[in-house]
Subunit: 258 residues, 2 copies
DNA sequence: AACTTCGGTTCCACAATATGGAACTTCATC
DNA sequence: GATGAAGTTCCATATTGTGGAACCGAAGTT
């Protein structure tokens, strides 16, 4: 690791902490000692300090496990930090596309945005976090539908624009396409001039738990850019899924080219 | 805080880290600066170091949130660190009673112990972690039954000792008592001479997800000590539930007297 | 466009701080 | 009771972290 200066103690302590947190199992003092190459006294001092702050905790037999502070965080957050985990992905997508990027989950039968990276253009960036959009005419919603994570409510499908798909059969065909391609698109179906692309994020058990989307004005999201963006999204979504513990059906490079 | 020596940097960094992790929301640099009282330069250096190690992460507007390492930990751990969270409670109970303390969850229709603090007496401390006990004749099992977290299998109830309750109606009356008192007792129903007391631990949605128990020989766990222990357990279990995010029906002091 | 404020990072001389070898304490084993 | 392994405490030393001040870039203000 680089030695960026002025933080030796913290670098070492952080390294120990990370090691314990990343390792699935309790780490005995000796193991940490050997792996870090620190002198006994130093390691002891650092570990005790971390323990004092509740970041680490010792087992009955002296091995170190993540401490109460982290455990509390873990139990409190369940899926709340899906947003945290996803943040770097959102930003990478935002950086590459320049468009507004969103992360959404299902909540009470509708799509709820829970994180956003704003467009770098002037046109395009309103805040959608907390906003709910319908399933049948948004890219995000269609992705959830396509993977069986959501079901359409009964009754007629609301027409939002001239291009909103209101025919269930036609929608069904489109969902099949989404499963095949790995990403979904909504072209001015929710709001005139607005195009969105989305891909599914899977959780530990492989179920679709969230979706990533990119949205922007039709003037910028031309057909080829939509394709390009869709593939980017599918890749990033797969990488994120993997980090979240989803079984990998096809390997992906998290920071792969375009 | 006490005055340990030789860890100023780490104490400060840990404090910042804990603050960010405990706060539900992203903490802007300025807020951390003010609350910690550190000079700007120092805070900046410490925070950058933590960020470098993936313990913290900045969002778009520069506020600090728990980093990828912690997020990964949280998503990976699900309920695995129920044991970690509970550890301090187990130890407190062990310290006060001197008896063997266990934490158990339901697994495949039986009670499975997942953590233990050993008795400080010679008599009483065998290792039960991983051991499964039946529902109808253990304190832990009866607690799960009482709160509807488990259901009795069909067929006759196995008789383990002369005092095992094998009559479903009688057992039903006892379960009602457990709900009323807040703790359950098994007096030599599982093994002659063994008495156990247990109380329920609730998770985020208020459902009973685990139970705490104290067990020891009948010579030490006399009737008043059983009552005393039951109340202690009920209190600690309530405190633990609260930490786990259970809705609180009655307020509890986690470190309250006795 | 020039100026100011605000939020944060970088610099660097200084000394307070973390360091680590060795002595010491515990606990288990022979 | 002696020996060894695992970990903690001590303390002289200089390496390390410190923090005031300078600096930088972005977002208002005139």
């Amino acid at each position: 690791m680089k030695t960026p200066s002025g933080t030796q103690a913290i670098d070492r302590a952080a390294q120990l902490l990370v090691r314990v947190v990343e390792a699935g199992e309790p780490q005995p003092f000796t193991a940490l000692l050997a792996e870090s190459g620190l002198p006994k006294s130093t390691a002891s001092r650092l570990l005790s300090a971390l323990e004092r702050h509740g970041l680490l905790q010792r087992d009955r037999d002296g091995a170190f496990r993540p401490g109460p502070v982290l455990a509390r965080y873990a139990s409190r957050s369940g899926s709340a930090d899906l947003a945290v985990t996803a943040q770097p992905y959102l930003e990478r997508i935002g950086g590459k596309t320049g468009e507004t990027v969103n992360l959404a989950v299902l909540s009470g039968g509708a799509v709820e945005q829970i994180a956003q990276v704003d467009s770098s253009y002037l046109l395009g960036a309103t805040n959608w976090v907390g906003l709910r959009v319908p399933l049948h005419c948004s890219a995000l919603g269609k992705v959830f539908l396509a993977h069986g994570a959501a079901e359409l409510p009964g009754g007629p499908l609301e027409r939002r624009t001239a291009r909103t798909v209101t025919d269930r059969e036609q929608l069904g065909r489109e969902l099949a396409g989404i499963r095949r391609r790995g990403y979904g698109v909504a072209r001015e179906e929710l709001e005139p001039g607005l195009i969105a692309v989305a891909a599914a994020v899977r959780g530990r058990d492989g179920a679709v738990i969230a979706a990533l989307s990119v949205s922007g004005p039709s003037v910028r999201l031309t057909p080829d850019r939509v394709t390009e963006t869709g593939e980017l999204l599918a890749g990033e979504a797969a990488a994120l899924s993997e980090v979240l513990g989803a079984p990998l059906d096809r390997a992906r490079d998290p920071a792969g080219p375009l």
